[in-house]
């Protein structure tokens, strides 16, 4: 049992966090909350990849003369890290854009509550 927890706790926590993010996007009705849920979902997926790169007993992926390169078990896999740098940037830019849209919406309707917004859109 302890073995199982040790092996899979990270994945199960991340599945839980992914669902929490989706909960923020689906159930919460304030637009800023929706954006925060979006950020949580993206951060979760990024951490999922990072966990997939981890090796027991390995060091960070920076070349060290003491270890050499013959033994790949000495370094953590650098491929997911490089890809997730890109994904983090994507997450930041998407969040910034969502904030820009939120400001644009507030200028027009003076509220950020979704039912109120839909209500105001009904009569025009």
């Amino acid at each position: 049992m302890l073995e199982f927890i040790q092996d899979y706790y990270a994945f199960i926590f991340l599945a839980l966090l992914f669902t929490i993010g989706l909960y923020g996007m689906m159930v919460k009705q304030n637009l800023v909350k929706k954006a925060l849920g979006m950020a949580i979902v993206q951060a979760t997926v990024i951490m999922f990849w990072i966990v997939s790169a981890y090796k027991d007993g390995a060091g960070i992926p920076i070349f060290d003369k003491r270890y050499g390169v013959e033994n790949p078990e000495m370094y953590i896999n650098p491929l997911p890290h490089a890809m997730m740098l890109t994904a983090v940037v994507v997450a930041i830019i998407t969040f910034g854009l969502s904030l820009a849209l939120i400001i644009a919406i507030y200028r027009e309707y003076n509220t950020l509550h979704e039912p109120e917004l839909l209500d105001q859109m009904k009569d025009i």
């Binding site: 960070i60 920076i62 740098l85 940037v89 910034g96 904030l99 820009a100 400001i103």
Partner: protein, 160 residues
């Protein structure tokens, strides 16, 4: 230095837009203006030392952007125009993209594939060092784009 209080020097377009008005506190001014060059220096270090330690174009660019954002927050958007005018940010970021894409196009013109640094026109270098300097070249583009765009998004959010 004139003897007018700082708030009177704000251009007209800064007034009435919430956060753009700067604070008048000299402590905040001196602290932020004093610390921002050092953060910029750390950004440059992170960028140029990225080949050897954690860091690289993106991290350095974000740190440099943080410098300007600190000035923007403390001095107000109007006064910090001297450091980085809002009108050139997006054009500088276009220049950064062009540096990156231009590196690829140059390698393509000299007979290689897109972004194949082996074909950079620097014949006196080893192939491995060609790649080393190619990485540095494109990271210049990355740093320029990231730094200016993060500032531009801040300015746009404020409606400046």
């Amino acid at each position: 230095m004139s003897d007018k209080p700082l708030t009177e020097k704000i251009p007209r377009y800064c007034k009435g837009t919430g956060m753009m008005a700067p604070t008048d506190s000299p402590i905040v001014h001196i602290a932020c203006r004093g610390i921002s060059p050092f953060i910029f220096l750390i950004g440059l270090y992170v960028f140029f030392h990225g080949h050897y330690s954690p860091g690289g174009g993106f991290q350095g660019g974000v740190l440099m952007a943080a410098t300007i954002l600190l000035l923007r927050l403390s001095l107000g958007t109007g006064l910090s125009q001297v450091v980085m005018p809002a009108s050139i940010t997006l054009r500088l970021s276009a220049v950064g993209v062009l540096i990156f894409a231009g590196t690829g196009v140059i390698t393509m013109i000299f007979g290689g594939d897109f972004l194949d640094y082996h074909f950079l026109p620097l014949p006196w270098l080893d192939p491995a060092y060609l790649r080393y300097y190619g990485i540095l070249l494109i990271e210049v583009g990355v740093v320029l784009t990231v730094m200016t765009t993060l500032i531009a998004i801040y300015d746009d959010l404020l409606g400046y």
